[in-house]
Symmetry: C2
């Protein structure tokens, strides 16, 4: 039996590929999910590009192709009792219908509502995002402190926590000199949505638990991820992660490719000078594995900036247009009114060296990668619903004030 | 009819004195509470020093002595629908059984679980604190944005958000130079408890809403408050704020006086070099009134450090011992093992000028103030339960890690 790793949010875009990767590496893997994101997508009519089986079926498919069993618990981790049961042999065996594989070496925490636009669609969506994301984080921290204090927590944060400051972005921390004295603090954070703000709040909470109870935590400040294929999903398309192309749950490169295939103009928000760090889903898996295999120390909140390179939205649109046109598609770029609260032209200079120092080999975005994404998306062209691609300015706008 | 002010957490130690003060100043006052703190104190056997009537009775008493009516809604603001009803004429009239007094000029937000030790007593208390405090803040921000965007939110934060940094503490913000570039950020925050961390999380959320939707917010970073009498409560003891002397909900000066009266040694945590900013409850009321009468601008998160002076815990214990001994009491000081996660000797140099510039006249702690507190506490000496004064090391301790 290998080492045990527990993946919270194991149904997700990153959760399921991570589960297969760790299983392939010989870990005992437990995935946990309550299908919140699926339910939200269903409720708001935001279809995936292709059907994705639920975890029970994916676990069986994976066992059929790999010979390895992933354990499964379908439950809501916002309830502290559910979270605690996972870290208790009796509770675990009841929930997973499998023998207790021992305390997890690592817990990957992906179990959060991940959409910035959804998080501020209306007050109910804000409340749901806040309560779900923060309770899961807090419940996990308490459960690990009380029941499994040596387990390494690996949390997915976001580069969006930093916002777009006018100074260089360091990896998580900043030395500050002020009036002749010095101290070291979390790098200043100011996110551009309720969702990003909940990730900042996660960081605050993790940092307190690390200081107070000497937990081991790695926080991966990830940029938007693109891609829909990993080594383990090549066996069968049904093992691919789910893929949103709407303007709520879709990420920008994925969305642009679907727009190009559907003959919809690529929707660049405002001037398109918004610059962010991006990463391929296969590089994300490398990063997560590196973080797990080189754990944080007791009492350490270790923060890595998890991106491969930076692009402006304009540049991304042009890259997708170039590849699309070579494939004979008619691709236009349209600058639409920006529904987000963000600067459209700004300084952006993040550091991202620490994961490379752990051995991650980055794969920059190239035309071959875009081509292989087009190959898959074009295979599902008939399933694209044009009406969910883009909704102009559905976000709530600032009110006029005196 | 005066201007309308809405006080969330109007039953509390600061909420009720604030309600009377604004009522005395001619405001139309609405108080809202669900009695969470009373229920927690009852559940854990943490009696108040003297009985304090519920709001319905206090509102009637206040009307009898002042001729002014305070409106009352007893409801849980962690439910977003309850929060929204308050800002809606029909909802308000149903909840308060009073005519709609118009959109509030200001909303004072005190509606949070206020105890640091309670917030980390166990995982259930952590979950309760996190969910209650953050949902109320988030619900308020959404309701004001959607229904009452000109209302000025005045939130009670805590100096404890800053922790004890090795640099001077500014009022909320810090200019940072880094690698030849500059930007201005929230002053770095790292609290010493789950409770303090929820206040940091409140700040993150308020700062996002202010940037995104141009709300007006003042955040008062308050030090521990002492005192049990305000101008308005002199009419009758039943109008006094409630007074905890236990080690969960009691604040340090209040507790030391009860300990001195009960013949219990003054319990100084560790070396007692922990230095904080303190403020008299009457100065708190001055500050809150000044903040309301000089509102923040649209799109401004205004942060004031709300303290009168700084003391180490050791110094406070000596001051209370000195006054107690003059009154003929036998007062000892005992250094007990520190149940908190905090440095016991540290640099501490906070700025606190902004409220003075708005006209607040500070009243430093003097022996006459301590004497008048002793007068009241000695009147209730028979009601002091020695068994709730102090519980050595009931807090969860760091676990041993490899």
């Amino acid at each position: 039996m290998g080492k045990h790793i527990c993946i919270l949010g194991g149904d997700g875009y990153l959760g399921w590929p991570s589960a297969m990767r760790f299983s392939a590496l010989g870990y005992d893997v437990t995935v946990v999910d309550n299908y919140l994101r699926r339910e939200l997508c269903a409720q708001y009519g935001l279809d995936f590009l292709y059907p994705v089986p639920r975890l029970k079926q994916r676990v069986a498919l994976w066992e059929a192709v790999s010979g390895r069993r992933i354990h499964l618990a379908e439950l809501d981790l916002a309830d502290p009792e559910n979270m605690r049961a996972l870290f208790n042999p009796t509770g675990y065996e009841r929930l997973c219908d499998a023998p207790w594989p021992g305390a997890p070496e690592a817990v990957l925490h992906y179990a959060e509502q991940p959409s910035a636009p959804f998080s501020q669609r209306d007050y109910r969506c804000t409340d749901l995002t806040l309560v779900n994301n923060l309770r899961v984080t807090s419940n996990l921290l308490c459960a690990v402190r009380d029941l499994s204090p040596r387990s390494h927590i690996v949390h997915i944060g976001t580069m969006g926590e930093y916002g777009t400051p006018n100074i260089d972005i360091e990896e998580g921390w900043l030395d500050i000199a002020h009036k002749g004295r010095h101290d070291r603090f979390l790098f200043p954070r100011q996110g551009a949505s309720v969702y990003h703000t909940t990730k900042i709040m996660d960081t605050d909470l993790m940092w307190f638990f690390v200081r107070a109870w000497k937990l081991r935590v790695t926080d991966l400040m990830q940029g938007p991820v693109y891609g829909l294929e990993t080594e383990e999903s090549r066996a069968t398309p049904e093992l691919r992660p789910y893929f949103n192309y709407d303007d709520q749950f879709g990420t920008v490169i994925n969305r642009f490719i679907v727009q190009a295939v559907a003959g919809h103009p690529l929707t660049v928000y405002g001037k398109g000078g918004q610059t962010r760090g991006y990463i391929n889903i296969t590089d994300t898996l490398q990063c997560v594995v590196a973080a797990v295999q080189h754990p944080a120390q007791a009492g350490e909140l270790r923060i890595f900036n998890q991106i491969t390179e930076t692009f402006s939205v304009r540049e991304l649109a042009r890259r997708v247009r170039e590849v699309g046109r070579k494939r004979g598609l008619k691709v236009a770029i349209e600058h639409v009114e920006n529904p987000r609260t963000e600067a459209e032209e700004h300084y952006y200079n993040p550091t991202y060296q620490a994961l490379r120092e752990l051995g991650v080999v980055p794969h920059p975005l190239d035309n071959a990668t875009l081509d292989s994404m087009f190959d898959i998306v074009q295979g599902y062209a008939a399933r694209i619903h044009p009406e969910i691609i883009f909704h102009p300015l559905q976000q709530r706008q600032p009110r006029e004030q005196d």
